[in-house]
C-alpha cells in the first residue's frame, strides 16, 4: 500500500463514455488482488482536490488496467489524459474479494451493472484460475453501457447480458435476469458490484436461497487509506454494528456484514 507517482499510461481505449487505461506499475501489478482499488490524483491544482478511487480491472506482469465511466469532473479530466501521460496513484488499496481455491469446480456468479463491471473481470479470471466455473451477468441501460461484453466473450466466459431498454440481450434489469436464471442453477457464491439498489436486490434473493454473496461497496473517499474516516458504511462484524471504513476493511463485504440502509443514495 504505497505510492507510484510515476505510473505511465501505456494504453487507452474508449467506448462512448467508458474508458480503459493500462497503467505501468510493476509493484501494484505484483501485489494486487481482485476487488482492490487505486486512488488516482486527477490534478495537481487546488480543484478538483481529492483523488478518485477506481477498481483494478485487470493486471498483467508490469501493468494494471482501470475501466471507468465518466461520471463527473474528475473522471472527465482523467478521460482526457493521453498515452504517455504520467499518473500519481496509490495502491493496491483495500481488501478485495474472498474465496478462491475453495471454489474449485464450483459454479459462481459475478454480477455487475454499468461501471460496476470493472473489478469483476479481474475477479473472474482469478476465480477461473482457481478452477471455478464463472458465469458473468453484465447489465447496462443500453447496448452502449456494456462495452466489455466482447472482452468477456473473447475470454470464453459464460456471459449473460441485459439492457434496460432491450437493445441487447435480456430486456430488463440484470437482477431480474439473474433471478430467472437462478431458477435453473444454484451457484456456490455470488460476487457483485454496481448501483446500491442492484446489490441490495441481489443480497435479498441470495439470502433467500442461502447463497453466500459478496458486494463491492462505493462511497465518497477522502483518502483511500484509512485516515479520514470519510468512507464509512454500516457494517456488522462479530455481532457488533458500526460505521466501518470501507477503504480499509472493504470495499468488499459479505451479505451478512452489510447493513443496507435507507439513507444511502
Amino acid at each position: 500500500m504505497i505510492k507510484d507517482s510515476q505510473a505511465r499510461i501505456i494504453d487507452k481505449k474508449s467506448w462512448n463514455n467508458y474508458y480503459l487505461f493500462s497503467l505501468e506499475s510493476p509493484r501494484i501489478a505484483s501485489q494486487a488482488h481482485p476487488g482492490q482499488f487505486i486512488m488516482i490524483r486527477i490534478s495537481h491544482h487546488p480543484h478538483p482536490l481529492l483523488r478518485r478511487p477506481l477498481s483494478i480491472h485487470s493486471k498483467d506482469e508490469k501493468s494494471i488496467d482501470i475501466f471507468f465511466q465518466v461520471s463527473g469532473l474528475g473522471t472527465d479530466l482523467l478521460s482526457q489524459k493521453k498515452v504517455g501521460d504520467i499518473l500519481d496513484i496509490l495502491g493496491p488499496l483495500g481488501k478485495g474479494f474472498h474465496g478462491g481455491a475453495s471454489l474449485n469446480g464450483k459454479d459462481v456468479v459475478a454480477a455487475g451493472g454499468g461501471r460496476g463491471i470493472a473489478p469483476l473481470y479481474f475477479l473472474a479470471k482469478e476465480l477461473r484460475s482457481h478452477g471455478a466455473l464463472v458465469k458473468i451477468f453484465y447489465g447496462g441501460k443500453s447496448l452502449e453501457d456494456i462495452p466489455l461484453k466482447e472482452k468477456f466473450k473473447r475470454e470464453n466466459f459464460d456471459l449473460y447480458c441485459s439492457t434496460d431498454d432491450g437493445s441487447f440481450g435480456f430486456k430488463g434489469f440484470i437482477t431480474e435476469y439473474l433471478k430467472t436464471e437462478l431458477e435453473k442453477f444454484t451457484p456456490s457464491r455470488i460476487f457483485s458490484c454496481g448501483p446500491e439498489e442492484m446489490m441490495k436486490k441481489i443480497a435479498q434473493f441470495a439470502a433467500k436461497k442461502n447463497i453466500p454473496a459478496e458486494f463491492s461497496l462505493e462511497s465518497v473517499m477522502g483518502c483511500g487509506f484509512g485516515v479520514c474516516w470519510g468512507c464509512v458504511k454500516r457494517i456488522k462484524k462479530n455481532g457488533e454494528e458500526g460505521w466501518v471504513k470501507i477503504c480499509e476493511e472493504g470495499p468488499v463485504f459479505s451479505s451478512e456484514e452489510i447493513v443496507w440502509t435507507e439513507e444511502e443514495k
Binding site: 500500500m1 504505497i2 482536490l49 487509506f225 474516516w229 470519510g230 464509512v232 460505521w243
Partner: protein, 308 residues
Amino acid sequence: MTDLSIDLGFIKLKNPIIASSGTFGYGLEFAPFIDLNKLGGIVVKGLYFSPRPGNSPPRLVEASSGLINAVGLQGVGVKKFSEEILPQLRKYSTAIIVNVCGEKDEEYASVVDFLDKEEGISAYELNISCPNVEKNGVCPALDPETTFSVVSLVKKSSSRPVIVKLSPNVTDIAEIALSAQEAGADALSLVNTFLAIAVDVETRKPVLPKVFGGLSGPAIKPLVLRMVYQVVSRVKIPVIGIGGILSAKDALEYLIIGARAVEVGTANLIDPEATVKIIDGLTEYCQKNGIDKIESIIGTLKKPQGLD
C-alpha cells in the same frame, strides 16, 4: 545547513510543519509513506473520553478547491488510544500532540486528566472549535466566555502545555484569542473548519445528512491568513496557522505573516507525502534566499506604511 527548528516556548519543534488533527489518523497510518521522525509534530485525531460512533454517511463532499466533512469525530476514546496507539507513536522522535474534545467542559478536563498519566505526549490541542453538526455548528470557541471557561478548567488539571484551537466562524477572532490567552493557553492554533452546506439539486436534499459540515482546503487559505494576521499582533503566545496549506509556498505565507508553525490538514489526504515535501520546500526556499534559520522570517511581513 538550513536550521528549520522553531521554538514555541514550551516546546522546540524540528521544523514548523505539524500534521493536523483528523487528517493524519493516529499518525501510524502514514508510516508506510513517510519517515514520521521528519515531522515537526503530529496532532492525532480528535479524542473524546469514550469511543464515538461518528455521523452517518455521506460524510464528505467536495467543493470548489475544498472539502466539506462531517465525520463527527468517530474515534477510539482515550483508553484504547493510551493502550494501543500511544505506545507505538511514542517511538517516533517528533512532537506528539493530542487533539482533545468534549461534549462539556468537564469532558475536556477528564480526557486531559486521563492522558496526563501517560508518557510521550508533548502538548494538548484543545478542540473547542469543531463545528458540531448536531448543534448547528455551535462550539465553545464562538464566544470569549465559553472559551475562557473551558480553557481555564483544562489548564487547572493539565500538567502539559495547552494549545487552543480556534474557530473561524466568528466576527472578531482576536477577541477569542485574547480570552484563551487570559485563561492560560500556551499557544493558539487557527483554525478549525468553516461551517458550510452543500445541496443536491436533483434530490433537493442537503448532501450531508445533518445539513452542516466543515470546509477545509485551499479555498479557505486567504481567510485564515487574514485571521492569523489579526491575531498575531494582539497576543503574546505563539500562533499556529492551519488552513489550505498544500505547498511550502502556502506554509511560508503563514510564517511570514507571523505564525510560528503551521498544521497541514487536507493535503495529507491527497498526498500522504505532503508534509515531508513541504519541509523539503522550506529548506529549498531558505537556501535560495540565503536564510540560515527559518525563525528569522517569522512575522517579517513588510507592512505598508501610510500609502496614499
